[in-house]
């Protein structure tokens, strides 16, 4: 008779373990399989002419930011931060690259003008590069070290703290 009394508590152990596992993982946090992997190659035509490619950045750590003019307010929040970071660290070898996705050219140019972007920005025809980087939405930002490996991916608007810390880590990295 005693085993019958233990049956229900014993049976609930695996259920509780399963629930504990399920509730401790955040279903919205989908880790990118690209982190710690080589960044996918890309070649884009910058607004206003010229080309930008991953190969062309060799040796330079880079912040690769995916944005769109219709992405309000997140992209508008982080845009001044990106420009400020670019100005502050470009002399130390940092690259900032903006990839504009699923946008109208006129709106994108207006966005670039509004925030006075001086780092290269390029549209992504057919979202090819976005899909190659596993981008879900905008904004998303990839931090690529000087060896071309993705070290961190940030989803959503960047905060000054995160941006500064990641850029410092990139510049320090050998």
């Amino acid at each position: 008779m005693t085993w019958k009394r233990l049956l229900i508590p014993l049976a609930s152990v695996p259920v509780i373990l399963l629930l504990a596992y399920g509730f401790r993982t955040d279903p919205k946090a989908i880790p990118s399989p690209l982190v710690k992997k080589p960044a996918p190659e890309f070649r884009l035509t910058v607004f206003g002419g010229g080309e930008i490619s991953l190969a062309g950045l060799k040796g330079k750590p880079a912040v690769l930011n995916f944005w769109a003019s219709w992405c309000y307010p997140a992209c508008y929040e982080e845009a001044p931060l990106l420009e400020a970071t670019w100005r502050k660290f470009k002399d130390q070898g940092l690259m900032v690259v903006g990839v504009d996705i699923q946008d109208k050219e006129a709106n994108a140019l207006e966005f670039i003008q509004r925030f006075g972007f001086t780092f290269p920005n390029a549209p992504d025809p057919g979202s090819k590069v976005s899909i190659d980087y596993g981008v879900y939405g905008v904004p998303e930002t990839f931090f690529v070290d000087r060896h071309g490996h993705i070290v961190y991916k940030h989803i959503g608007a960047l905060t000054p703290g995160i941006l500064e810390a990641q850029v410092q880590a990139l510049l320090k990295g050998s």
């Binding site: 989908i30 699923q102 057919g126 979202s127 090819k128 976005s130 899909i131 980087y133 596993g134 879900y136």
Partner: protein, 147 residues
């Protein structure tokens, strides 16, 4: 006759091209229907009207036209978006729970039904519940009073 020939010449290659095109489209649809539209709620890349899903279908089409297999296209998307991009989780590792648990639950339920049914069947037939003689007497008396 000349007209017929001309029509045949016009239709022939066009039909052939159409057949090959629809074959590719079938493959694209088949593969895209197993991929999650990452900006939607439970919609496949084949069914979603969103821009990103359309672009993903184009990527699938490009890869199919390059001769890539279903597994190779899936592997590409998994390498970019993680296993989340697959609508059905692969049958291995921890995911096996998702596939196995419903069958285990049905088996366990069947076991419980079997045990309960066996217990019922084991009960001796003809055993009547005992009735308190006081109530039995009262029922008898009241029935008699009604007559």
């Amino acid at each position: 006759m000349r007209l017929l020939l001309a029509t045949a010449l016009l239709l022939g290659p066009a039909d052939g091209a159409h057949a090959a095109g629809s074959d590719v489209e079938d493959r694209v649809r088949e593969i895209a229907s197993e991929l999650r539209c990452v900006v939607c709620q439970n919609l496949s890349v084949a069914d979603s009207p969103s821009d990103l899903a359309r672009e993903m279908r184009n990527v699938v089409r490009d890869q199919v036209q390059q001769g890539k297999s279903r597994e190779e296209v899936q592997a590409y998307f998994v390498s970019r978006y993680g296993e989340y991009v697959l609508l059905a989780p692969p049958k291995r590792g921890f995911n096996l729970l998702v596939w196995g648990l419903p069958f285990l639950a049905v088996l366990a339920g069947g076991g419980v039904v079997y045990l309960v049914a066996r217990r019922w069947a084991e009960q001796k037939p003809g055993v009547r519940p005992t009735v308190d003689p006081v109530y039995a007497e009262r029922v008898r008396r009241e029935l008699k009073d009604r007559e």
